[in-house]
């Protein structure tokens, strides 16, 4: 990626968390060393936030609070406030999506992993704002949350490419992240982890991308539409201010106007 202008360039740092890789990209016109210091301290703050939430919510750590809940050693009434809050939020989304999004596995195990990554991105954004950073792009394993512009001081939006699920080395399309700062994508291949088709039916969509004003809405609805199919897609675009790009199993696309080329 070449510099975006003479005085600005993008700098990125990455770290591993929650089974994937998180990238933070910052647009800065500062002197190189200042910008690098700023980016590295911001990355450290974001990484700490992800690590903290991963410790609490990951089911693959036996000692995590989520694992103790899943084993019945702890009940929700005695869980931490952040666990209770996220469970309440997930339950509200389950109602709002008529069950297409759920934080319970078919066997009844509590599993918030479908919402934890987005929650971490939301918390990280608060930290970045508190640090005074204005122009950044956070990519948490394919879910994107942005602020400002890749060219600070301009209206130019961050542009997110959307990967082609049938050829992950190419892009299906692009989405300018102007009014909607968040973009989340779910795939039916993830189903084993956190997407279960409603009624055990094989999902209609291979991949669903949803852009929204906040990362939780985008993430939850992308997951819900993979699970609930066209019915949930129609419900989501009628009920929330979101844009959707869905890839059917045969590779054909469904798109709301925001994902279409300007006529």
């Amino acid at each position: 990626m070449p510099p975006t202008s003479d005085s600005t360039r993008l700098r990125a740092r990455t770290f591993r968390s929650m089974g994937t890789v998180v990238s933070l990209t910052v647009a800065s016109g500062h002197y190189a060393q200042t910008a690098v210091d700023e980016l590295e301290s911001a990355t450290a703050v974001v990484e700490d936030k992800f690590a903290e939430l991963d410790l609490t919510f990951s089911l693959y750590r036996d000692g995590s609070e989520a694992s103790r809940l899943a084993r019945g050693e702890l009940t929700l009434a005695y869980a931490s406030e952040s666990m209770q809050d996220l469970y309440v939020e997930a339950a509200e989304w389950r109602l709002a999506t008529e069950g297409a999004f759920t934080a319970e596995r078919p066997d009844g195990t509590l599993d918030l992993s479908g919402i934890v990554k987005a929650h971490a991105a939301r918390e990280a954004a608060l930290s970045l704002e508190a640090l005074g950073l204005r122009d950044w792009c956070l990519n948490a394993g394919g879910d994107v949350l942005v602020s400002g512009s890749p060219r600070p001081g301009t209206e130019q939006p961050w542009i997110a490419g959307i990967v082609d699920p049938q050829d992950r080395q190419s892009l299906l399309g692009a989405y300018p992240m102007a009014t909607n700062r968040a973009l989340a994508t779910s795939g039916s291949a993830e189903r084993g982890h956190h997407i279960w088709g409603v009624g055990g039916v094989r999902p209609e969509f291979d991949q669903v991308s949803v852009s929204a004003g906040d990362i939780i809405t985008a993430d939850v609805l992308a997951t819900a539409i993979v699970a609930g199919g066209t019915r949930t897609l129609d419900q989501a675009v009628g009920k929330w201010n979101v844009e959707v790009l869905a890839v059917r199993r045969d590779g054909t696309l469904l798109a709301t106007p925001g994902f279409r080329k300007a006529a």
């Binding site: 990626m1 360039r9 993008l10 700098r11 990125a12 740092r13 990455t14 591993r16 089974g19 994937t20 890789v21 990238s23 990209t25 990554k117 792009c137 990519n139 394993g141 394919g142 879910d143 994107v144 942005v146 890749p150 961050w158 542009i159 997110a160 490419g161 959307i162 990967v163 699920p165 992950r168 080395q169 892009l171 299906l172 399309g173 692009a174 989405y175 300018p176 973009l183 994508t185 779910s186 795939g187 291949a189 993830e190 982890h193 991949q207 897609l233 129609d234 675009v237 009628g238 959707v244 790009l245 869905a246 054909t252 696309l253 469904l254 798109a255 709301t256 994902f259 279409r260 080329k261």
Partner: protein, 164 residues
């Protein structure tokens, strides 16, 4: 499904009242044809009408090439707009040989209109109709979650490396 059947019944009711009120029938219709159609609509032809509504205008086109026998010429009628508890309904009915061969909704119920609007908001598109971009044009890549290992060969990794 139950709603669709109820709507079909209302569509026919709308057509019946429309046949009397609007009387906007076209082409070569005889009174006897019209009355036989009305009597026919009270029975099983109602359900055949509902299936006809989804099959486009084929009934009309076959009517235009109607046979020499006057009683089998197809005729279409626009019903009156009728207020129902499902919203406003108006239908067009094609009659041929004394039977309803097609029922087309000219005006949808509010519920149907809403679903049409919703589906037009997320419509099928060709890949060429989606905003295109090359990796060089984007600052980040969205996609279904990849594992840490899969990240190494991803487009996002290439962008991150370029900006490191």
């Amino acid at each position: 499904m139950a709603t669709a059947l109820a709507s079909a019944g209302i569509l026919l009711a709308g057509w019946q009242s429309g046949a009397h009120i609007a009387d906007t029938g076209t082409t070569t219709t005889t009174t006897s044809l019209s009355s036989s159609a009305t009597s026919g609509s009270s029975g099983t032809s109602g359900s055949s009408g509902s299936s006809g509504s989804s099959s486009g205008s084929s009934g009309g086109s076959s009517g235009s090439s109607g046979t020499s026998n006057g009683t089998t010429t197809a005729a279409t009628y626009d019903g009156a707009a009728v207020q129902t508890r499902f919203g406003t309904v108006q239908v067009q009915v094609t009659i041929q040989g004394g039977k309803i061969t097609e029922v087309t909704a000219l005006q949808l119920t509010d519920a149907e209109r809403k679903s049409a609007q919703i589906s037009s908001r997320a419509a099928p598109v060709l890949r060429s109709e989606v905003l295109q971009a090359q990796t060089a044009d984007v600052q980040t890549v969205g996609g279904a979650t990849v594992t840490s290992d899969a990240y190494l060969t991803s487009l996002q990794a290439a962008l991150d490396a370029a900006n490191f």
